[in-house]
Each structure stands twice: as structure tokens, then as C-alpha cells.
Symmetry: C2
């Protein structure tokens, strides 16, 4: 069965090892500054399908990413979510939230992007320094 | 500063220890069968504000809860999220999702409850057996 996260990287890869990768979102979603995903490389549906060691490894990447994003962007709140209803391939959305972002204080999913917005690419609106902080934090 | 999760339980308590509690949501949100929250008892903003041991303890409760909900309800997908933009007191939403639920495959936050829905109490629509499974899984 076709799976977007098996067939492609799912974003701009900032870190990758044998088990997982961290990507910065691209396209319209990049309007949320620092929005990244931690994607388990193997096609796995739920976190409780992983072994204990793999769960810890997966969450350690989330913590490193959150720490790097907090340090470099100083968000008002961090949002973390594993949903995957349409793409049941294990991944965490890790989203720094700011009082002046597009939907705060609502969850970002309260805003449905229009097809016009989805076709736009807001990647360049985002100051890129945080990406280097993420690369360093995950490689350490 | 007033905090809903310091001032109250935040739902029907299914498990509680010195560090955290697991509650079943009540009111309109209970339309999502099995929707629970894992709430850190102390007022803490982000998961990376916890020590490593406490993060592990928090996530272990999430895994136990997810396992119990999967066993007892057999959902099509599990959704897990830590948001807290309006209530910045660390808690995980743990939500079994079903093809025939109110918003699937969208995130539940894509649906804004009307004030009429919020005033309703759908708690009794939910078959209660899963609550006993959660109590057992967390106490084990």
C-alpha cells in the first residue's frame, strides 16, 4: 500500500540515522516557524508497536528536538502530537507555538489550509538559524 | 494564576499516584469513546522541563493507557497530543480514533464544538468497560 512516509522523506531532512529522521516541514505548513516532524523510518502504526528501547530512542529524539527549538526560537508553548489518521506511519509533529502565529491559542488543526495556501511555499519566511540548532542537537 | 488542572481533576479520575493522574474526559468531548488525559500533577509547562526519570514515568503511563485502550476498544488509530496553549499545565490527550467517529480522519480539533454541544453530556454514550481496563493497566 502506498505510504507518503515510506515513499519520500516527508520534508527537509535535518537529521537521519538507521531508526528515525527529523524533517522540517515544507510548503504552506512552514508558516509555523520551526515546525518539524520526527519520523520512524520503518512503517509502524503506533508507538506501542515499538519495543521499549525503540520507544525510548524515538522519544529521546523528540526531547532533543524540543530542547533545540526552545533554545533557538523561544516559543510561547510547544505542541507535540502523533496522529497519523491519514498516514498511519509513526511520526511526531513537534510545533513551536507563538502568540502571533496563524491559529494560536487553537491547535494548528483548527485551521484548514485552503488549496491556494497549500500550493504556496512559505518555507523561506522562516528564519533558518533554528535548523542548524536542530542538526547539532540531534547529532550530539 | 488560576489553572484548571491545578484547581480540579480535569475529568473522571481512573488512576492517580504522587506524580500523575489519568482521567476520562467528561461532557461533550466524551463523544470520542475512550478519550483520556494523562495529567502531570505538578504545574509544569513542557515535557523537557521534567527530569529524565519523570519523563519516562510520564510516557510509561501513556504507553500503559494506549495499550489498555487498544486492547479494550480496538480503535482504527491512536492519537496522542500534548498541546496546552490555553492550559499550559503538562498533559497528554490520548484518543482512540474510529472510522465512524465525529471527525475521522481529521484531528479532533478540526471540529469546534458548538456551545450547545459543549453544554451536553455525552459521557453515558460511551460503553464503560474500557475504564476498568485502564484502571487495571495503570495499577499493575
Amino acid at each position: 500500500m502506498a505510504c507518503d512516509l515510506c515513499d519520500g522523506d516527508g520534508g527537509e531532512v535535518l537529521f537521519r540515522d538507521a531508526k528515525l529522521r527529523v524533517v522540517a516541514v515544507t510548503g504552506a505548513e512552514a508558516v509555523y516557524r520551526g515546525f518539524c516532524r520526527v519520523i520512524w523510518n520503518a512503517h509502524t502504526k503506533e508507538i506501542t508497536d515499538l519495543t521499549r528501547d525503540d520507544r525510548n530512542r524515538f522519544m529521546d529524539a523528540v526531547y532533543r528536538l524540543e530542547t533545540a527549538l526552545r533554545s533557538s526560537l523561544d516559543p510561547d508553548k510547544m505542541n507535540i502530537a502523533s496522529l497519523g489518521n491519514m498516514t498511519p506511519h509513526l511520526h511526531w509533529h513537534v510545533i513551536p507555538r507563538f502568540h502571533d502565529d496563524a491559529t494560536f491559542p487553537k491547535p494548528i488543526w483548527a485551521h484548514a489550509f485552503t488549496s491556494q495556501e497549500m500550493a504556496s511555499d512559505t518555507t523561506q519566511q522562516s528564519h533558518p538559524d533554528w535548523k542548524e540548532a536542530v542538526r547539532c542537537a540531534l547529532s550530539a
